[in-house]
């Protein structure tokens, strides 16, 4: 397969304007500026590209939701990339920042947007410096700023560095953070396309989605739609990590069998070990088991398998790790990152940690698993954003799929702690 985003990505100096332009960079922008806004939007719609950040919403339709009119409209590039296991945008921004900038300028032209922000997580300081330099180059060359390439299109582009908060990857939390507040998510609707940053219509897209736009314009939307499957078009950057021999970012055609990614590209788990479970789309995705390895890697097949493609981060856990450790890591992470605005998430994440600690300390009975599962069910769908769901889905699926192992844990821990055999415990329902 011909790489689209990762084509000769390691070429020295690709982060500079000179090399990027020599390779045909900004030709798509020139082409787009000869087209009308509607024609550019039609190409995006024809490509059927779905958002690469996690939710998988069709990008072209998102642009078309923006109201027409002369009000200030905003584009925000979500470069917060804080989903555990995800590191694709980092490589893209570090090695080919102009690809992202070109995509942002084209997208803002299609949406009639005059102000754009890149919200990059504060930890990516090296990548932010590279982007800052690239924006400066683009501004000097006239690709960003007033009357771009002699057209009526004007765009200001500002890089905004975050300061370390997972919740700021959530689009409305990101907007609050960009407005200089604590990154608390907002009630939706109104959706950001209607009322977002500074109460103006706002288009929010992931780095990878925006970086793909120059390629869509270059090859044409219909041509791009031929790659991948019918409902998941194009290529996807996949971050494979955890217990694999060759962790890293790989560009795959959507619909590639997952086994080929995990074993073929990433080399599979270390010799002598087997895949126990894997997260197909970041740590927020319900876990899949070794039986699901032949599922095609695309949005719909993952949903059908009971999980999600998410941000495209595959985390592989091999059979040397107890599933309880995995659950504990996840729960502690979400409890730490919950912003505290909605009760089900704030309390649910904390209580899940406490209940998992009960298992470890030998105080739990198998009924704790039922309580924990019901806590997860009460989080899902009951909060302003999906941070709580992002814990509830994997934890819920772990309890469902690995219950015998967790029960064995409970018994072993009770024996260790001397809290009595299970048959001597009278279970009193507490809920």
């Amino acid at each position: 397969m011909k790489k689209i985003l990762f084509d000769r990505i390691d070429e020295p100096g690709l982060n500079t304007m000179a090399v990027y332009e020599r390779r045909g960079g900004y030709a798509s922008l020139r082409k787009a500026m000869t087209m009308s806004r509607q024609e550019v939007l039609d190409e995006l719609l024809a490509s059927s590209i779905r958002g690469r950040g996690g939710a998988g919403f069709p990008m072209g339709r998102k642009v078309s939701f923006l109201p027409k009119g002369d009000m200030d409209k905003y584009l925000v590039c979500n470069a917060d990339e804080s989903e555990p296991g995800t590191f694709k945008d980092r490589e893209l921004m570090q090695k080919s920042p102009h690809m992202l900038i070109e995509g942002i300028v084209i997208a803002s032209y299609a949406g009639g947007i005059d102000r754009a922000f890149i919200y990059i997580r504060g930890e990516y300081s090296y990548q932010a410096d590279i982007l800052d330099a690239a924006i400066e180059e683009a501004r000097a060359a006239g690709y960003v700023g007033e009357r771009i390439l002699g057209s009526e299109h004007t765009l200001s582009l500002v890089l905004h560095r975050g300061a370390g908060a997972y919740i700021c990857g959530e689009e409305t939390g990101l907007l609050d953070s960009l407005e200089g507040k604590r990154g608390n998510p907002r009630l939706k609707p109104p959706f950001p396309a209607i009322e977002g940053l500074y109460d103006g219509p706002t288009l929010i897209n992931n780095v990878e989605t925006l970086a793909t736009i120059p390629h869509i314009i270059a090859m044409g939307g219909a041509e791009y739609a031929k790659i991948g499957t019918e409902t998941s078009t194009g290529t996807k950057l996949v971050s494979v990590s955890g217990d694999v021999k060759r962790p890293g970012n790989y560009e795959i055609e959507l619909g590639t069998p997952s086994r080929e990614i995990i074993y073929g590209l990433a080399g599979g788990p270390p010799d002598g070990r087997k895949v126990k479970l894997w997260f197909p789309g970041g740590s927020s995705a319900p876990v899949l088991t070794a039986d699901d390895l032949d599922t095609p890697y695309d949005f719909d097949s993952m949903a059908k398998a009971g999980s999600m493609l998410g941000s495209g981060a595959i985390i592989v856990v091999d059979d040397s790790h107890p599933v309880l450790d995995v659950a504990m890591k996840l729960a502690k992470f979400y409890a730490h990152e919950s912003c505290g605005k909605c009760v089900p998430c704030r309390e649910g994440t904390n209580w899940t940690v406490k209940m998992l600690q009960r298992i470890e300390s030998g105080e739990a009975t198998p009924m704790d698993l039922d309580i924990m599962a019901s806590v997860q069910e009460q989080i899902i769908g009951n909060c302003l954003c999906v941070l709580g769901d992002a814990m509830a889905m994997p934890i819920g699926s772990i309890i469902e799929k690995y219950r015998p192992e967790l029960e064995a844990h409970i018994e072993a821990a009770r024996e260790r702690a001397g809290t009595g055999a299970l048959e001597d415990v009278i279970a009193i329902p507490v809920y």
């Binding site: 990762f6 200030d72 296991g85 590191f87 504060g122 930890e123 090296y126 370390g164 200089g180 990590s241």
Partner: protein, 221 residues
Amino acid sequence: MSATPAPRHNDWDRPQAQAVPRFEHGSRVPGWDDAVDLTKDPAVVPDPARTAVPARLRQEIEAAMSRYPDRHSASIPALHAAQEEHGWCSPEAIDQVAAVMRVTPAYLTSVATFYDMLVTEPKGRNDVFVCTNISCSLLGADDLYEAMSAAAADEDDITVRSFECLGACDIAPMASVNGQYVGPLELADAERIVADLLAGREVLAEKQLRYRPCADPGAAG
């Protein structure tokens, strides 16, 4: 009037059978780290005429404010700059930012306490963030964090923190040393990181992420 007390109907009226463990401030929940001083007037926007702000910091904050349609958006860049200047977001640093941005210190404190990279207590000049999230911990990050903490235990100038996913699972287990990503790390690297920091050298030059080529074999073209 009878001297007998009214009969108790409610469970919660009864005296506690055993003392509930309480925190220092008397509550059963951890609550705020510092109790509110109710005798103090609320802090208002500091008087710019009475608040001395280092010229470089003022310049950076004003430059940040000029980039956004709303000056409040500059709060994170401004606090970053103040932290750089003062070492941490001290009350003095927050006052200075508040004076330049014309906001209350409380507003900035609310922001500074929300984000992991802004620190509201004294810390060392050098930051070592060890990622202890899922992918790194599968490959031994928790032991690495212990080793890193032990190696830097006597160094006031180095603050080691365990951090949530830093977005570099391809070099797990990894750490961010003053923003420079290094990995995959072994336990012995902890001592080397401390030595490199103290000597002012580039940290683990051969393990820095920025030199790492793309893993995808097809990316070579």
